[in-house]
């Protein structure tokens, strides 16, 4: 076995770790560039609005659909879990809280995140492999300011907005299922919903959505801009962006939940 072959077999854990760290480092560098260009990027209102339409309006039908079924399932399964020992008055409470704290922000982010980070990675990746990013730089225009920042801003604005819609529709879905199929009266459900309602629950959900928006945009842009090698490279970048977004959303969800519910709003 040659020296390099032996090295390859033995040290793949180190090389894997090194690759992950290098990737993470590049993401932080990108985040740094985004934050630096944020003030000038905010002035390009037209670009931000275009991205908000693409991300927000474009994702609305999907969000509403997913939310409706999320709320419906939450009601059905909660009622099954309660039957016999927890009064049905708490059905509304539990559906409301679980939607607003977790299901709304997280499922919306996973579903929208998949769609949006893939689209961003594909668009920026195609621009990268057709030298459009290079062309932009030679024209003296910063691709971070022109392409990345508008998408970043649009995502951190639209994810909370989409989450609000998702919360409303999901609770509505749970409500409809409860009164139509679970033998729960409208009054029971809505009083349960109001019973332990706390504004901080909604705020926590929206804080989560804000960070999820950051993740979605950053992953899409990071993997898109690093594409190489033509169509295959763009395809790979798209897949990586979606996988990374979903994983990070779940990890950050746990971290935020720990911070928000054990420290901030304890």
């Amino acid at each position: 076995m040659s020296e390099t072959e032996a090295g390859t077999a033995a040290d793949w854990p180190q090389r894997f770790l090194l690759a992950r760290l290098q990737n993470a480092g590049e993401v932080f560098i990108l985040l740094g560039s985004i934050l630096r260009e944020l003030p000038s990027g905010v002035r390009k209102i037209g670009l931000v609005v275009t991205q908000m339409e693409a991300i927000g309006l474009g994702s609305m039908p999907l969000t509403v659909f997913v939310a409706l079924f999320t709320g419906a399932v939450a009601a059905v399964q909660a009622s099954y879990q309660f039957r016999g020992y927890i009064p049905m008055i708490y059905l509304g409470t539990v559906v409301g809280k679980s939607v607003v704290i977790e299901l709304g922000p997280v499922l919306t982010a996973l579903v929208v995140g998949g769609r949006v980070s893939a689209a961003i990675a594909a668009e920026l990746g195609t621009m990268r492999v057709t030298e459009q990013i290079d062309a932009m730089e030679t024209l003296g225009i910063s691709p971070i300011r022109y392409l990345v920042v508008p998408r970043f801003l649009a995502a951190i604005i639209m994810l909370p907005v989409l989450t609000i819609f998702a919360d409303i529709v999901a609770i509505l879905g749970g409500y409809l299922v409860a009164i139509l199929t679970l033998d729960v009266s409208s009054h029971t459900f809505t009083s349960g919903l109001k019973l332990y309602f706390k504004v901080q629950d909604v705020v926590s959900g929206l804080i989560k959505a804000f960070f999820f928006g950051m993740i979605i945009a950053t992953m899409g842009c990071h993997y898109g801009l690093r594409s190489e090698g033509g169509a295959e490279g763009v395809g790979e970048a798209t897949t990586r962006a979606v996988v990374a977004s979903c994983l990070l959303i779940l990890i950050v969800d746990y971290l935020l939940a720990s911070f928000l519910f054990r420290v901030l709003f304890a």
Partner: protein
């Protein structure tokens, strides 16, 4: 490798596919940083510049990419005018006039509303050229300007490049393996071979060369010291 281009000169770098001609060009604009050595534009080391200074320097340079690299999310007019919009306080109407002027210069008058996807290869290159010229750069870089074009369109591009260089006194560096194009647009031709400048000279000198490698390349022969890549 040691290469100097004088102001107002037109240098063409020829060489086989894969020798690093495009990479050389990208070093010149600062898109790639060299591992060793320096790139100087107007005496300033390109790689010592901060991002803002580099972007400012690039306003004086224009580059024509091999496929045009037009932004497909925008129309032709928006492509050509983008640098003006981003770098100058020029009002919209004036930008429209400049865009129309640049498009007319490359023979694409009236195409502002077209989208890049509906353009032919030659039209894409010409539109990209108009975009690169929008800020009246002093230095132009051309990456394989005629590659992939039919002979007639290639000649149109060659004449355009030569005319721009003579009329506007633009310094130009082009990279190509199209010898006919090289002879047409160059004041000097340099051959890049195995990472070195193998030969430099005026078109007439190059055409009359006795160097076997250079001879083989310019005649386009598969027989000689250069092996197929």
């Amino acid at each position: 490798m040691d290469l100097t281009v004088a102001r107002g000169e037109s240098l063409v770098v020829i060489g086989r596919s894969g020798t690093g001609k495009s990479v050389l060009l990208k070093h010149a604009v600062g898109l790639i940083r060299p591992d060793r050595g320096t790139v100087r534009v107007n005496g300033i080391d390109v790689n010592s510049l901060g991002e803002a200074e580099l972007l400012a320097l690039r306003e004086q340079m224009g580059m024509l990419f091999q496929g045009g690299a037009l932004f497909d999310s925008m129309s032709v007019g928006e492509n050509v005018g983008i640098a003006l919009r981003e770098h100058t306080p020029m009002p919209e109407r004036q930008i429209d006039l400049v865009v129309a002027e640049k498009l007319a210069l490359v023979g694409l008058a009236g195409t502002e509303a077209l989208r890049p996807s509906s353009l032919s290869g030659g039209m894409k290159k010409r539109a990209a050229l108009a975009r690169a010229l929008a800020m009246n750069p002093k230095i132009m870089f051309y990456d394989e300007p005629t590659t992939g074009l039919d002979p007639i369109t290639a000649d149109v591009i060659n004449r355009l490049i030569r005319r721009l260089q003579e009329r506007l006194k633009i310094t130009s560096i082009a990279v190509t393996h199209d010898m006919r194009s090289a002879y047409h647009i160059a004041d000097r031709i340099a051959m890049l071979h195995e990472g070195r400048i193998h030969a430099v000279g005026a078109p007439a000198e190059i055409q009359a060369t006795r160097d076997p490698a250079l001879r083989q390349f310019i005649e386009g022969s598969s027989e000689g010291p250069l092996l197929p890549t």
